[in-house]
Amino acid sequence: MKIVDIDYYAIYGNSWLHKISARKKLSTVFLILLTVILVSDYRIIGTIYFILLSIILFSRLPKFKIIALALYPLIFVSLFILSMKNISLAYMFLLIFKVITASTAFVTVIFTTSFIEIFKATEKFLPSFLVNVLFLTYRSIFILWTTLENLQLAMYIRGKPQLKRPIQSIKVISNALGFLIITAIEASENMYEGMRLRGYSGNLRYLRK
């Protein structure tokens, strides 16, 4: 799932979850996280997960996209479960519910709240330079994404990477990434010059939605 697509849903979505303030949503998510950390009963965490699932299913949200993204960390927990001896069903459920409950809560927030609102809400808790780097990272994703899409198109036109020639394909992809990095660094230089011209002195200002 591309970050750019998630951001689109967060900004242009129109569900009741979108209308709740970022601060309230983040507080709820951290409450859920605290429960996941402290509670060792799979039924309690399982109930929270099904409540979250119901919220997603009965909202005007891209349901399957949210659920699929939230299930992603399950793959890594399955490696963990596979490494356990004599694992009971209850403990397995506990691990699974802990994983998917926390990730579903975070993914739901990110699908209904733009990164800008989240950074703004965290401004009071995080140092300003960190919030500024987060904001610049977010902005840079869109600049680089456009370049990457153009590069992908160019690569496909000139012959896409093939499994038959793995080393050659890796080289083609790497050269494209190398070009992307050079473009990115040049963009960062331009960005800094632009920021300086607009009076940047260490703090970024951004508009509320």
Binding site: I3, I6, L33, V36, I37, D41, R43, L69, Y72, P73, F76, V77, L79, F80, L82, S83, M84, N86, S88, L89, Y91, F93, L94, K98, V99, A102, S103, F106, V107, I110, F115, I118, P127, V133, L134, F135, L136, T137, Y138, R139, S140, I141, I143, L144, L148, I170, I173, S174, N175, L177, F179, L180, I181, I182, A184, I185, E189, M191, Y192, G202
Partner: protein, 236 residues
């Protein structure tokens, strides 16, 4: 698999709090090390390299288990101190995407930073001894990924001691005995975990090292000044 993809609520509190404590120490160092003006200059670069790491993470080598993250390359370009900040930012955004837990951001940052820092020093050392920049970058990346994977295993292993306690308290709560199929104690088989991690990682290390080496060679041909930027970053 250089990244701990273990989510929230599994690793013991003392372990993930230690991760955050190490990162807090780094921030104290960061405040004293970098003057505001010199940091402002690198500010946009950190942001753009963090974005680059996030974008390249969508390139999966063994879908969906292993993806590249270009942490070593970020280490080579940004230098060890600034790359840790970039990695921390990447991990915060990834946590919101459900990719790694929020509580393990500190630990994830440490593990991935080990890659970046080792990659930086490895590349610096090897490129002074070996003339071929491709081989230097390949070896530096491969060694960094190998050691960082072992640090992942180390973190998981440290966490599994408390996990046994969690399992015990969970089993003896007496509320769901119907689901417990046997009375033998549950334990974490670290050897099996190492085997699983190594089986997935071996191919990933090679491919990521090749990609990094090709990228470094390309940059060295087109904009060699970028590879020497690390020096300016560190001295400012």
């Amino acid at each position: 698999m250089s990244h701990i993809h273990l989510p929230d609520g599994i690793l013991p509190v003392w372990l993930w709090l230690s991760g955050y404590a190490v990162i807090a120490v780094y921030f104290v160092f960061f405040f004293f090390r970098f003057r505001k003006s010199s940091f402002n200059k690198k500010f946009a670069l950190i942001g753009i390299l963090s974005a680059l790491m996030l974008i390249t993470m969508s390139i999966e080598i063994i879908p969906p288990i292993y993806h590249i993250n270009l942490a070593v390359l970020s280490g080579i370009i940004l230098g060890p101190a600034l790359s840790v900040l970039a990695i921390f930012v990447v991990n915060i955004i990834l946590a919101f995407l459900g990719h790694g837990g929020f509580t393990v951001i500190g630990l994830n940052t440490i593990v991935v930073s080990i890659e970046a820092v080792l990659g930086y020093f490895g590349f610096k050392l090897l490129s002074s001894k070996i003339k071929n920049i491709f081989i230097s970058a390949f070896l530096a990346t491969f060694i960094a990924l190998f050691i960082s994977s072992w640090s992942t295993i180390g973190v998981v292993y440290s966490g599994t001691h408390d996990m046994d306690l969690l399992v015990e308290s969970h089993n003896h709560s007496g509320e769901h005995k119907e689901l417990i199929q046997h009375k033998q104690p549950e334990s974490f088989d670290i050897k099996k975990f190492i085997l699983l991690i190594m089986a997935f990682s071996a191919v990933g290390w090679t491919v990521e090292s090749l990609i990094t080496a090709f990228i470094v060679s390309y940059i060295n041909k087109v904009r060699p000044d970028i590879l020497s930027m690390k020096g300016s970053t560190e001295t400012e």
